[in-house]
């Protein structure tokens, strides 16, 4: 049976993890020593934080890793209370068949400061029996007391040649043919995100017998929200209400996230500039606004409101005739 390739080809051991050599070397030392401090993995999406944590858990804990490894997603768990309850009932028991227990908490940066302080107390309380692995996108959003209790590992975006190697391997096993250049364009669109790269590969292969440069482009353009260009054009033409309605439709009904939207807007504006539709000065002004609002989306409370504000910046600009 065919699994999603991201799972089927998820590295099961540390030495299978690609593109994070320095980190893996140090982690393997923990395996050898049979003990490890609290760890924090930071880095963008799809670079192997979860994979590494799972692989490390298996190797450190050995045969009975499943019983001694607790995986929690901080952003989905309903509030800190659930997290604490889960951690408590897990840590209270001594590790059986393994040197200690591991709690893996994903996306800790989505926890509030209060919740993080509570977590810090849990970490202190169970140091003897358990180790924590925390993962996050931005370590700046983690309170200092937690950071200072962890060995911090920064995961870099996966390099292009590493991604290509991995894709080639998968393609070989799956017997998928591809033309020269197809994998390069997957790498281009994946932007260092291995999960995305593998998903694009599987989506492209599901469309036809051979993965080509064109089929990759088709997948990527199909997979992005369709109306972003239209929305940008409406705003440039001064139809703010129209553009705003479209934005709300894309975000609320189609469920596109704020971060995805800002990336899409950026890409559309770049493309328009490449196509000669935007004057250089207009282009760079817009990029400045997009960058600023990308930041505010992360700081603010409602991404949609911030994006509406970003759309107004287009009102004062025009396209080249």
């Amino acid at each position: 049976m065919n699994e999603p390739w991201v799972e089927k080809y998820r590295p099961q051991t540390l030495d299978e993890v690609v593109g994070q050599d320095h980190i893996i070397q140090r982690l393997e030392r923990y395996v050898k020593e049979g003990s490890m401090p609290n760890l924090m993995f930071t880095g963008p999406a799809g670079v192997g934080k979860t994979t590494t944590a799972l692989a490390l858990g298996k190797e450190v804990l050995g045969e009975y890793w499943r019983q001694n490894f607790l995986e929690l997603n901080a952003s989905d768990a309903r509030g800190i209370d659930t997290v604490r309850k889960d951690i408590k009932s897990f840590c209270r028991l001594k590790a059986v068949g393994a040197p200690f227990r591991i709690i893996f908490l994903d996306e800790v940066d989505n926890m509030t400061k209060d919740a993080q302080h509570a977590l810090r107390r849990e970490m202190e309380m169970y140091t003897k029996t358990s180790s924590f692995i925390l993962s996050c996108n931005y370590s700046s959003k983690i309170i200092d007391p937690i950071q200072s209790r962890c060995a911090i590992f920064r995961f870099a975006p996966v390099k292009g040649h590493h991604i290509i190697k991995r894709l080639e391997k998968i393609a070989k096993v799956e017997n998928v043919k591809y033309t020269a250049g197809a994998l390069e364009s997957i790498v281009y669109f994946a932007e260092g995100d291995m999960r995305r790269a593998v998903n694009i590969l599987q989506a492209s292969s599901s469309m036809g017998e051979e993965i080509t440069d064109e089929s990759v482009h088709e997948v990527v353009s199909k997979a992005k929200p369709q109306d972003v260009r239209k929305m940008v054009n409406m705003a440039l033409d001064g139809d703010f209400l129209g553009a705003r309605d479209l934005l709300r439709e894309i975000m609320v009904v189609q469920g596109t996230s704020g971060e995805d939207m800002v990336t899409q807007i950026y890409q559309e504006v770049s493309r328009m500039s490449i196509e000669g539709l935007l004057k250089g000065s207009v282009y760079i002004d817009l990029i400045q606004s997009i960058g600023e609002y990308d930041y505010r989306i992360r700081e603010g409370s409602n991404p949609r409101i911030q994006l509406e504000a970003l759309l107004t910046k287009f009102l004062l600009k025009t396209q080249e005739e």
Partner: protein, 503 residues
């Protein structure tokens, strides 16, 4: 005894203002007492204008009354049970009628008071009981359905002069000396809320021989809650920071206030740079809301309030002399319309997140790519079983039902099926065109895609069989290839049979 109670009107004549409303209520009571059953009354108006007083005066005309207000829980059962007691004691000829008073119906809570509005609608439909309801917010969605079934009487703010006159009378009775302008300020500040004016007077006047403007300082900061749409109007119309600050005394959540101000900016402001500047302030306001939430330092809210009110107000060059119709944010309509879909997306994201060790958010980001994968029949089948998606959950990714993957050994039946398949596919093409689409992306492409799929069908057939042969040769694939041969095709005979039944 509080002055508000002490000086509560004892009969309809003593009620200030709202002459027309009073008359309507009196007529309504008379109709009931003469054996008719007129429509229930819905009194709508701002706080402190006399809605509850009027209802209680009306109650005096009936044998008895029952009251449920916001402090009681008002679920379907509770309302019906309470009212049920009233109906049990009802006699013939409308004598011994019990009046039912439901205060603050716009405050009936969605989850805590489940079915509350439904229960009220049921009582109205039966029409056995005189029923008076009160609401503050005429725009409330919760009472929209009730409005059509009721005689809506709008209770207006009490005129400043009437309030001053009453305050004077109270001062004389209480033996408090007063300066006329102090009472005027009290009256004005109350903005038509008689109750708050009397309360304010009591705070500075009770036990005092006289009241002066100095006493006003004491209550100058007292919160007066405004109606949200009036406040939005003030923000967008006024450029006076003091007035705007007053208008922002609202009980609503700041994110909601921001949403409504934001919604109406482009309805009021016409120049592009005004919209740009106003939205800059909106963005800052939201940024501080985010910071407050992330750090739990809610003192940041004050910056947010300033940006969304005075900041937005000052973005306009001058006040527009026009009447703009303000609206509730379209986001709320979109949210309620798309609710089922969002729930579905959430459920599916949960299943996928669990299998792929991610959060729901990350899982959702992969949806568009999954949607493409799900267009491939074979892969769709496998993914659906891997993630344990039910049929309705699969619909999130593809409009057609997934067909059973075929075994290569059954060429003959497959060919037969091919015929059936293409005809069903055509039927479905028609169906998808006539039906409002659930998936946005495929809207334009629906037809083309479906046809392409048909052409591809035979190709895929070859590919599938070829693939299986090859994969068994490759040692790297371990058990996976075996799995793909066996698992999903186990009882394919029965499933194929059911396939023919499908439509």
């Amino acid at each position: 005894m509080l002055w508000t109670e002490k000086y509560n009107p004892q009969n309809f004549e003593e009620v200030l203002g709202n002459k027309k409303g009073k008359e309507e209520i009196i007529e309504w009571i008379e109709e009931w007492l003469t054996g008719n059953s007129p429509k229930p009354l819905l009194l709508v108006g701002p706080a402190g204008t006399g809605k509850t007083t009027l209802a209680h005066l009306a109650a005096g005309e009936f044998a008895d009354f029952i009251e449920l207000n916001a402090s009681d829980k008002r679920s379907y059962d509770i309302i019906l049970r309470t009212v049920g007691e009233a109906s049990a004691s009802r006699s013939l000829f409308n004598q011994g009628l019990k009046l039912i008073i439901l205060d603050e119906v716009d405050g009936i809570h969605g989850t805590d008071d489940r079915g509350g509005i439904r229960a009220i609608s049921k009582i109205i439909k039966e029409g056995h009981h005189p029923l008076i309801m009160m609401a503050n917010d005429p725009y409330s969605k919760r009472i929209r359905s009730l409005k059509t079934k009721c005689n809506v009487i709008s209770i207006k703010k009490v005129h400043t002069n009437s309030i001053i006159a009453l305050l004077k009378r109270i001062c004389i009775k209480e033996g408090v000396e007063f300066e006329e302008h102090v009472l005027r300020t009290l009256a004005k500040r109350s903005r038509g809320d008689l109750r708050s004016a009397i309360n304010d007077l009591e705070i500075i006047g009770r036990g005092n021989k006289s009241i002066t403007s100095e006493d006003l300082e004491m209550i100058s900061e007292k919160d007066n809650v405004n109606s949200i749409f009036d406040s939005v109007r003030t923000v967008l119309k006024s450029k006076n920071p003091q007035r705007i600050r007053d208008a922002m005394r609202l009980k609503e959540d700041p994110a909601f206030i921001l949403e409504l101000i934001t919604e109406n900016i482009p309805r009021e402001y016409e120049k592009k740079d005004e919209i740009v500047d106003a939205y800059e302030m909106v963005s800052l306001a939201d940024t501080y809301l985010g910071r407050a939430f992330q750090t739990r330092a809610y003192t940041y809210w004050k910056y947010s309030y300033n940006f969304m009110s005075i900041g937005v107000a000052l973005a306009k060059d001058e006040t527009y002399r026009k009447f703009a119709r303000y609206a509730n944010s379209s986001v709320y309509t979109l949210l309620s319309k798309s609710r089922a879909k969002r729930d579905l997306r959430d459920r599916v994201a949960g299943k996928i997140a669990e299998k792929t060790h991610t959060s729901k958010k990350v899982a959702k980001e992969q949806f568009p790519l999954l949607e493409i994968m799900f267009q491939n029949d074979e892969l769709a089948w496998e993914l659906a079983s891997y993630f344990r998606l039910a049929n309705d959950e699969v619909k999130l990714f593809r409009s057609r039902k997934i067909k059973e993957p075929k075994k290569s050994g059954k060429k003959k039946t497959d060919e037969k099926k091919e015929v059936v398949k293409s005809s069903t596919a055509k039927a479905e093409t028609k169906k998808t065109n006539s039906k409002p689409k659930s998936r946005k992306v495929s809207k334009e492409k629906g037809k083309g895609k479906e046809n392409k799929e048909n052409k591809k069908e035979s190709k895929k057939e070859k590919k599938a069989t070829g693939k299986e042969q090859k994969t068994t040769n490759s040692g790297l694939n371990k058990s996976n290839s075996e799995d793909s041969d066996n698992t999903p095709k186990g009882g394919s005979k029965e499933r194929q049979a059911s396939l023919f039944n499908f439509k």
